[in-house]
Symmetry: D2
Subunit: 91 residues, 4 copies
Amino acid sequence: MYGYAMNKKDLQDRLRRIEGQVRGVQRMVEDDKYCIDILTQLNSVTAAIRAVGIGLLDGHVRHCVRESIESGEGDEKIQELVAAVARFAGK
Amino acid sequence: MYGYAMNKKDLQDRLRRIEGQVRGVQRMVEDDKYCIDILTQLNSVTAAIRAVGIGLLDGHVRHCVRESIESGEGDEKIQELVAAVARFAGK
Amino acid sequence: MYGYAMNKKDLQDRLRRIEGQVRGVQRMVEDDKYCIDILTQLNSVTAAIRAVGIGLLDGHVRHCVRESIESGEGDEKIQELVAAVARFAGK
Amino acid sequence: MYGYAMNKKDLQDRLRRIEGQVRGVQRMVEDDKYCIDILTQLNSVTAAIRAVGIGLLDGHVRHCVRESIESGEGDEKIQELVAAVARFAGK
């Protein structure tokens, strides 16, 4: 019962599109496409994944984090959130 | 009156160290040090800046965002937070 | 006839594994898994994609860029390479 | 005697500007500016550092890497370059 800011259908659509992009990259490798073009395609996969991640974080803050703060116990959720942002922000 | 999770003194110490690192890089360039070594040094500046950014976000969520949620008006703050995370996570 | 440093089979194996990871994320969303866990999984997809990108860049420099330098016409390839690194390094 | 693609003066000017930006962030913290605004400023420091890094890589490929390839011993330089790109691209 987690609330993603992108709704579940949106998320799934985006993930299916990402899956398709990854298959497209496989075909590019199969067809010996030019490395730089494959790399460009990989960048757009990464950007699409990042957008999904931001959507998830958005929903997470709007729902889980907000609710735990409203019920007076946000500390742990906030700590977990910031750690997740640190990993997501790369590292 | 914003509360940074790293306290103000911590933050300032880190920022001064970052300033010192940047001056160190200037000396490396001045002394014609090897590019790859300079690049390594730049990476550690970036990592130090990222750590400050995470500390700021941490304080921001713990204070501003939490308080605005507690007073029943978190929406705008949450939206602003997620946009900031998206930019910080690098775009 | 491009030479990837990871050989073609390696690359394809990795890309298929990435495709599988993306499908795994779809199942996590389907099953209403916890946002932070999904995000962790997305981070590992991103890391896997980055590894493929590095493998591609490696092969590209070892083959295309090297050969164009050896034949005395590296300028354009070098410019293209650095632009690709800039985009890959995330802008 | 390393050749940076940005010339030495360019690099130093940029690094001095970055140093000034970092001092600006210190003043923002000193003056209790809003966290999100400080974070925005940090992002622009990071972007400026990244631009310097790209300039360094550019010069490195155009000079060191190219010359070592031309003299028939590019292998080690290429390996070092790709490792540096991997770290620069974040990890």
